[in-house]
């Protein structure tokens, strides 16, 4: 059972190929777990659990890390960075993410979050000579430590209130003691939301994201915006539903406001960006708002199953399409040597395949069918509107406006790469599209399409989230 957690340790051998293999192999126990799955298995007095929810997310994390490795190979080799350390840190972060998805007590989840984020502080500064990278790292680090201490303070209040640290016991205690509206509980919920809000970069805890994304090495940025964010969301989902579920009405409203703000601010600022990485950073802030929205509505109505389903579906689809978007941005910026995408005019003609990929991923992010992002948006809108609550409806309208705003900048970038005039036509530099990157491209495109055309594969998630909330 814990095999999948132990496997990444092999990376101590510091070999990229081995890391890749190790990551892939670690999928095997997951498959076995999935096939043999009957009931959730608990360990360490209910503080660690293997259920379908955690298996799905473990699969997602492992896949993302695998793809990030593929993205990294060329990057690491080309710059002669510390390969072994790099892979070790990424794997540690993966291990943290895996622990988060299974943990069911305060201590384990905290250590999981820390293990997931600590290596990222280091990795974001991995371009040692680059001052932007350094700067991104210090910002990320300071805010990260602050957020960790907020989470801790929140946990300490929870512990003080209930004397328990296992989620199920805490929530039973809260319900038995009728502590739902206790200010202490609410304060601890706020602190925890703020702390995790940093990881998922929601307004107003988002400010590190664009700077760090811009500074960090691109594969790390991709990992940050996908896996790290997903880890944060998993932690948030677990904590909100397992611990704070009874105080849902209070945090629901706040989260709804935050979600609306996050979408709007992310999109509006993204309109202004000329650096594709910063654009993606703001866009991923806006997307976080979309992921958060169903969760907040679920908090208000108490229909967690629906909300979690929508959030999780969006999260998974988002993970792959965003990874793909980073892939294409990496390709183009390597080629163009410029971080201003307005200077990328007509670059798609150099490599039409990459151009098509870019268009696919950005359109998918904008929510155009039959790409996956469309289905994700559909599910989210459905869950926002299904309640009939005024907040859900308002959020739906805000989301609708934002979907249109977002289209402007997503379409702009694909317009620029295809339709604007080709700069320095005679430059002979050939377009590099290494094969590991091709694997990433193919994989993410496939998922983007499949999830859009056969959204049925996500119906399992509905079942899963119901099981998740049932126990």
């Amino acid at each position: 059972m814990i095999l999948d957690l132990i496997l990444p340790r092999r990376s101590k051998y510091y070999v990229a190929a081995f890391a890749l293999l190790g990551t892939l192999f670690s999928l095997a126990p997951l498959v076995v777990q999935w096939v043999n799955y009957t009931n959730p298995i608990y360990a360490f007095e209910d503080s660690f659990v293997v259920d379908k929810f955690s298996i799905i997310f473990k699969g997602l994390f492992i896949l993302i890390t695998y793809l990030t490795f593929l993205l990294s190979i060329n990057f690491i080799e080309s710059d002669k960075y510390y390969q072994g350390e790099y892979y070790y840190l990424l794997l540690s972060s993966l291990l943290g993410a895996l622990i988060v998805s299974s943990s069911r007590d305060l201590l384990t989840i905290f250590i999981g979050i820390e293990l997931a984020s600590t290596p990222m502080f280091l990795l974001s500064g991995w371009k040692k000579g680059d001052r932007k990278s350094n700067e991104g790292a210090i910002k990320f680090f300071l805010l990260g430590v602050l957020s960790a201490s907020l989470i801790l303070y929140g946990f300490s209040l929870l512990y003080g209130l209930t004397g328990k640290i296992v989620f199920s016991e805490i929530s039973t205690f809260i319900i038995n003691g009728a502590l739902q509206s206790s200010p202490v509980l609410l304060l601890s919920a706020i602190l925890v939301i703020s702390g995790i809000g940093f990881k998922i970069s929601i307004v107003p805890f988002h400010s590190w994201a664009p700077d760090t994304y811009e500074g960090a090495p691109l594969p790390v940025t991709a990992y940050l915006s996908v896996s790290s964010k997903a880890t944060g969301f998993v932690a948030l989902i677990i904590l909100l539903t397992k611990v704070f579920s009874s105080a849902g009405e209070s945090w629901g409203v706040i989260l709804a406001i935050i979600a609306g703000l996050t979408m709007t601010l992310g999109n509006l600022v993204a309109l202004q960006q000329s650096n594709p990485v910063r654009l993606l950073a703001y866009s991923s802030i806006a997307q976080a708002g979309f992921i958060l929205a169903p969760l907040s509505v679920a908090g208000i109505t108490g229909n967690f199953q629906d909300g979690i389903f929508a959030s999780v579906t969006y999260l998974i689809i988002y993970a792959f399409m965003n990874l793909g978007a980073f892939l294409t941005v990496q390709l183009f910026s390597n080629h163009a040597g410029s971080t201003n995408f307005y200077e990328w005019g007509g670059i798609a003609k150099k490599s039409p395949i990459t151009g098509v990929l870019t268009t696919i991923f950005f359109f998918s992010l904008a929510g155009i069918p039959p790409l996956g992002g469309w289905f994700a948006k559909f599910v989210v809108f459905r869950s926002m509107l299904s309640t009939g609550e005024p907040i859900g409806l308002t959020l739906g309208i805000v989301g609708a406006v934002n979907a249109v705003i977002a289209l402007v900048y997503y379409a702009r970038i694909s317009k620029v790469i295809w339709m604007d005039e080709l700069k320095d036509v005679d430059s002979e530099t050939s377009f590099k599209f290494e094969s590991p990157l091709k694997v990433v491209g193919v994989f993410t495109v496939l998922i983007t399409f499949i999830s859009g055309i056969f959204p049925g594969i996500f119906s399992y998630l509905g079942e899963v989230s119901s099981i998740f909330f049932g126990n």
Binding site: L106, L107, F110, I111, E114, T118, F121, L122, G125, K128, G129, R131, K132, N134, E135, G136, A137, I138, K139, F141, L142, V145, L146, A148, S149, L152, Y153, F155, S156, L157, Y159, G160, G163, K164, I165, P210, D211, E214, G215, Q272
Partner: protein, 101 residues
């Protein structure tokens, strides 16, 4: 004795730490302030542990973990500061504003 005074002291420590990270210019000083915050959390956990007379001693265990992780964070923080300092000859965090907007 009652718990409130200790809790309030912890909260004061927390706030002082926050004041520190907002006001201090030197990155190392900011790290010091963060230690204050973490210390406040530690006091909280221990005081709750005592208050509840927790037979599992979960508060104490939590504290031990926090201390461990805080040590790790300090190491990382100093490494990053060192790196920054090497590249820019300053540890003043307000001068780190290459990236904005």
């Amino acid at each position: 004795m009652i718990v409130q005074p200790v809790l309030v002291t912890a909260a004061a420590l927390f706030s002082l730490g926050i004041y520190g990270i907002l006001v201090r210019r030197n990155a190392v000083m900011v790290l010091l302030s963060i230690e204050l915050i973490l210390n406040a959390v530690n006091i909280n956990f221990i005081i709750f542990d005592s208050m509840l007379a927790d037979s599992l001693m979960q508060g104490q265990i939590f504290t031990i973990f926090i201390i461990t992780i805080a040590a790790a964070e300090v190491g990382i923080g100093l490494a990053i500061v060192l790196m920054l300092f090497r590249n820019r000859q300053t540890a003043n965090i307000n001068e780190f504003d290459l990236m904005k907007w």
